[in-house]
Structure formats: structure tokens, C-alpha cells
Subunit: 348 residues, 2 copies
DNA sequence: CTGAAAGCGCTTACAG
DNA sequence: CTGAAAGCGCTTACAG
């Protein structure tokens, strides 16, 4: 099947290629009748632009915008997404994809709205964003819809929006994976401590979903007869962690495993190290640098990795695919849940 | 930094672009002196061809050849590689990469040599191949070298060859991962049975490496006090498996875990199912359809996945990168070792 | 041995 | 409202 060119359409329609181009790109100044004829023929012929040629002329750039919380040393998770986007840009070369980043302060609605305004002003051809703030995000979706700007969600999915696609993690299943690992190695009569380091406000939804998944595993399988003790430690100040944890262990000497529901697992690992606790199974999330250190020391037993970097990478690739072909592969996609221990960590 | 075009080189050298093109592509018919001048300038300017333009003209095709063992129902592993290659071709679109497959019968030297001859006749621009037969492979490398055809190894690495790159699995580490998982869930006084389904000749080297890694884990860590019993079952005829396994269990009642060093894990899983053995930890390799079934049934506890599909996919991408840019990123790359259990299997 | 021209499929002014 | 021309960077005949 040979490629259909705009020239083919032009010939069939009895017009020039310039005219075809104008209707294909909605650049107006075309008689309604001509327009219809061209569009019909284009559809009949299943016209797909040759993106190589497109890229060559005028060195077309695809201008995208990415909106997400600002990352930082206290919020490593969100520093990974920009890296993923950079990776996507690299792998999409030799096409010119440009992504402008817009970061908002976590849980600051005003800032979020301000940033969405900036994006609309920028007029990107596509938007990748994390709809963490539901109400404000829906509003933003509306505005993108009216402007016909396609958008893809990362990290969080919200209903009632016309997003092109969603790439995120299956937090619930991530919780089940953690549970299955603890269950496999733990004596059935031992208790399990679930620690929510709630300063990790960044992802409270995810933490909840993970915990739900974690609990569901034991409910479904009927395994582990021990208690499940859930605690929230609001800040990750080492001293506070120590005090709280000391108190917990004092009143619950039968704890055999700890799950930390967030990427701050290292904070609990540090505690375990300082108290020289032995035979404690610690499982947590995300292969960050600090977590990796404790994994290698043998203090963290397993890390569940949900590849935040790949999320945004995929999102950008999807958007590019959509902008160049008009097609979008799958609407909702979850990242794989990786199980990482000291033996396979170096191969990731 | 603006892109350097052949036009820029032509101007600097005081020749026409046609001449520049001729020297850049070694199409001869150029005075030695002119040639030198052009090459020098191209280097100075760090000329990199614009592959978008290249792809547009003449609709350039990249013709590659892939050589590997023939896959089949008895050898699922090698059916995955062609799929990986197809994936690479897809993701490399809109460039035209064509891969011609050459399959040889496993461990049939004559057939292998025959196929290498066919490849040389085909004159591909690059070759992806699995140098499983060492001597014959080195000979083939030599022939490719003299013809200036670049090649990338998949699956197996051999020394003393000028391969552009290698993409494969770290079988040794895969063995250690399996060991760490068994160790984590097994009572320390229990014995471990290592089953080599040796009909799996396809990958004997890998099986050995995996077993070495497996053993090294226990030597290094000093964990598990039980026996390590190694058996080889030459064919995977269910009856023979049953008989052998029955005999083994009769004389070794203390076995608490089984490692199968190959993708044929399902054969042992089937045995365990038929004998209704309980509380046995079964760990094996590769997420094949049959293995997945038994994982879901709870008979296989963990599968170690080394993504054979991704190997060849990466290899093709690398080759494309090399052919278009002359650059090659990393020389040796191992696939990640994935830990898969019933809880995360559906996300892979 | 070398240069000038045509063309790949598309877009962008420009002229009418 | 529409067409014809030029150009993106490269390659491929063709003419000299």
C-alpha cells in the first residue's frame, strides 16, 4: 500500500496542493465546498501526513507544556518526572519536541491556578499534567477542551475529563505486592506495622490506595494472623520519628515487619539502623538514592518501584504520537510494579 | 548551535554539494586531494547528517539481518526475540527499517554456517545475532569485519570480536536473585532442590551461570543450612519428570524449595500440582504463558524475568542509532532482572 | 573527476 | 478564495 500524499488528494479534488494543505490545517480562506470535497477525499484515501517531510520543512517544533508539583530534596518523587520528560525528548529526536515546564507548589491551589493560566497563555500544542487538585484540574481541562488543546494525565486519574490518555501507577496493586512479600517471609503470628509518613502530602491519595491494597491482600488470602498496626507520623524529623517509633515498639513487641507506604522509607530505615533492630522485615516504595543505600545495607528488604520517571516519558511519547498521527494507543495504562531487592537492584 | 549541512561543507571546501556527498558516502570518483579536504572540514564542523532529510529522499531503507535459533512450541524463548525486533521496527517508524530473519536449528553447526553464508550474500547494512556457537560465530564475525558490516550480539557475549554492542541477560545475577527469594521465605534448615531441565539445551551456558549465581548467594551470605541437591532431567516428557521427581522426594523428604533453572519451570509445576504437594516454594524463570498459569494458581511462587523480548528490541534500536549517527551508546548492557509473583504479574 | 538539476512530501509566503 | 514557486537537507541520475 503506497503512501497517500497531499498531491494525490489535490489531483483527485482538482485543486492545488496549497489548497489541500489549507483545509488540512484549518488555515481558513477556503470555499466551504472545496473544503468538504478535500476532506472527503482525504478520509477516503486514509491520508496520513508524512511526518518526516513535515519535520523537514520549517523544522517544525512540537511545543508541549508539562504541569506538576515542584520537586526538591524533600520531594524527590517529583524531581523524577522532568527527567523522564527529558528522556522522551531525547528518544524522539530527530524531531523537535519542546516541553516547557510549569511547577506548582504542592497543595497550593492558588499557585496551581496561576500556572494553568500561564500555560493557556503559552498556547502549547499539548499538555501533560498531574491533576492532583481535582476541582482546579477539572476547570483547567475545560479550558483546554474549549481551546482544543489535547492533554494527558500523569500520576493521578480523575473522572469526567476528556484526557487523551492516562499513565500512572496502580497504587492499590502496589500495596498488594508489598503485602505478599511481607507475608511470604514473615512468621504468621507476627504483627505488621504500617507507617504513613504523612508529610509526604505529595501523594496522599496514593498512600491511601496502597494501604487499601495492602490490607486487601490479607483479607483475601486469610494469611498472617498477627495484628496490623497503622500509624501516621506527620513530619519526617528524625527525632520525632525516633520518639514515635520507640513508643510503638515498646507497646508492641511482637512486630516482625514494617511497611512504609511512601518513598520516605529511608527515614524508618535510619531509625532501625540507629536502634540496631534485627530480624525486622522492612518494605517500602521507590528506588531513590537514599532508599537504595539502605537496601544495599540490608536494612530495607524490598522496595516496590513504580517507575515514576517512565510515566512522564510515556506521556510525552503518547502526546507526540497523537500530534503526529492523530492516533492514541491505549487510554489508561499502569506502570509495572517492580520488586527490587539487594540482588537485582544494580540491574535497574 | 546550528546544524551543519553538507552545503556548509561544500562552501568551505569550495566544491559542490554533490562532491561532498560522494566523499561522505565513499562513492568514489573523487580526487584524493578533494576528498581529504572535504573530510577534514566535515570533521572540523562535526558534521552529522540530518536523518530526517535522509529518510525523505529516496525513502531510504535500513536493511538488517537477524540470526538466532529457531523458536517453537518446544523453545518459546527464541520465539520472543522476533517479536522484540518487530516492536523495534514499529517504534522506529516513520523510518524504514527492514529486518530479514535467519533462523538456525539449535546446536546445528552446519545449519548455522549455512545461514551465515546466506546473510553475507544478502549484504545487510547491519547484523544482530546470537553467537551461541562460539567457534562458528567468531568466524562469522571475521567475515563481517572484512566486509565492514557492523554487528551486535544478543543473548550471549563472546570475547575477541569487534561487536558494536551486546545486549543480554546477567544469568549469574539472575541466579542470585532466585536464591535470595528462596532464602527469604524458607526455613533455614530446609533443603533446596535445583532442577536442570537439560533438554533446554538452548541455553545451557545460561543455566550454568544461573546455577553458579544461585550457589554463590548461599556461599557469600552463609544463609540456609540445608542441603543443595542438584539434578538433571534430560527430557521434559511428563512421565520421566514424574518418575525422577518421585525418586528424589522419596530419598530427600526435607526439601522445602525447588529452583528450576530454565523457562521450563511449568514442567515441575505440573508435577507438583499432580502430586498435590503443599508448602513447597517453587521458583523459576521467564514469564511464559504456561509459567504464568502456574504462577496464578499459586504453584509457582516467583518467576525471574529477564525480558528476552527487550534484548533484541534494544539491539535493533542500537543498530539503527549506529547506522544513522555513527554513535553507539554503551558497549555491554544487561537487561534488568524482574521479580514476578502473583500480585504484580498482571502489570507486566 | 565535478557540478547542476530534479525530486522526496510538506509548508510557507507571495501573487493574483 | 486559489495556485505556483521556493525551500527544508539530502540523494540520485545526468551532463560535461
Amino acid at each position: 500500500m503506497k503512501q497517500v500524499r497531499i498531491k494525490d488528494i489535490a489531483e483527485k479534488a482538482g485543486v492545488s496542493i496549497g489548497t489541500v494543505d489549507r483545509v488540512l490545517h484549518n488555515r481558513g480562506e477556503v470555499a466551504a465546498e472545496t473544503r468538504e470535497k478535500v476532506l472527503t477525499i482525504a478520509r477516503e484515501l486514509h491520508y496520513q501526513p508524512n511526518i518526516v517531510a513535515q519535520a523537514l520543512t520549517a523544522k517544525k517544533q512540537y511545543n508541549l507544556a508539562a504541569l506538576m508539583p515542584r520537586g526538591g530534596s524533600d520531594n524527590v518523587f517529583w524531581t523524577l518526572h522532568p527527567q523522564g520528560i527529558e528522556n522522551a525528548i531525547k528518544s524522539l529526536r530527530p524531531f523537535y519536541v519542546d516541553v516547557r515546564f510549569f511547577f506548582f507548589e504542592l497543595h497550593n491551589e492558588v499557585d496551581f491556578v496561576e500556572k494553568t493560566r500561564e500555560i493557556l497563555e503559552y498556547q502549547p500544542e499539548g499538555v501533560i499534567f498531574a491533576p492532583i487538585l481535582k476541582k482546579e484540574s477539572l476547570q483547567f481541562c475545560n479550558e483546554l477542551d474549549t481551546r482544543n488543546i489535547p492533554y494527558i494525565f500523569i500520576d493521578t486519574f480523575i473522572e469526567n475529563a476528556n484526557c487523551l490518555s492516562f499513565v500512572g501507577e496502580d497504587a492499590y496493586q502496589g500495596g498488594r505486592v508489598a503485602a505478599s512479600l511481607i507475608d511470604y517471609g514473615l512468621l504468621p503470628q507476627k504483627d505488621i506495622l504500617i507507617v504513613n509518613l504523612a508529610k509526604d502530602l505529595e501523594n496522599t491519595q496514593h498512600l491511601n490506595r496502597r494501604n487499601q491494597g495492602f490490607m486487601s491482600y490479607f483479607l483475601d488470602t486469610g494469611k498472617n494472623q498477627g495484628m496490623k498496626i497503622t500509624v501516621e507520623i506527620p513530619v519526617s524529623d528524625p527525632k520525632e520519628v525516633e520518639e514515635r517509633m520507640d513508643a510503638i515498639f515498646q507497646s508492641n513487641p511482637n512486630i516482625g515487619a514494617i511497611l512504609v507506604s511512601s518513598a520516605k522509607t529511608h527515614a524508618i530505615a535510619r531509625y532501625i539502623e540507629s536502634r540496631r533492630l534485627k530480624d525486622l522485615i522492612l518494605v517500602g516504595y521507590e528506588l531513590t538514592r537514599k532508599n537504595k543505600e539502605f537496601l544495599k545495607k540490608g536494612i530495607i528488604r524490598f522496595l516496590i518501584g513504580q517507575k515514576p520517571m517512565k510515566q512522564s516519558e510515556k506521556a510525552v511519547k503518547r502526546m507526540f504520537e497523537y500530534l503526529t498521527t492523530g492516533q492514541i494507543s491505549s487510554k489508561r495504562e499502569f506502570q509495572p510494579v517492580e520488586i527490587i531487592n539487594v540482588e537485582n537492584v544494580d540491574l535497574f
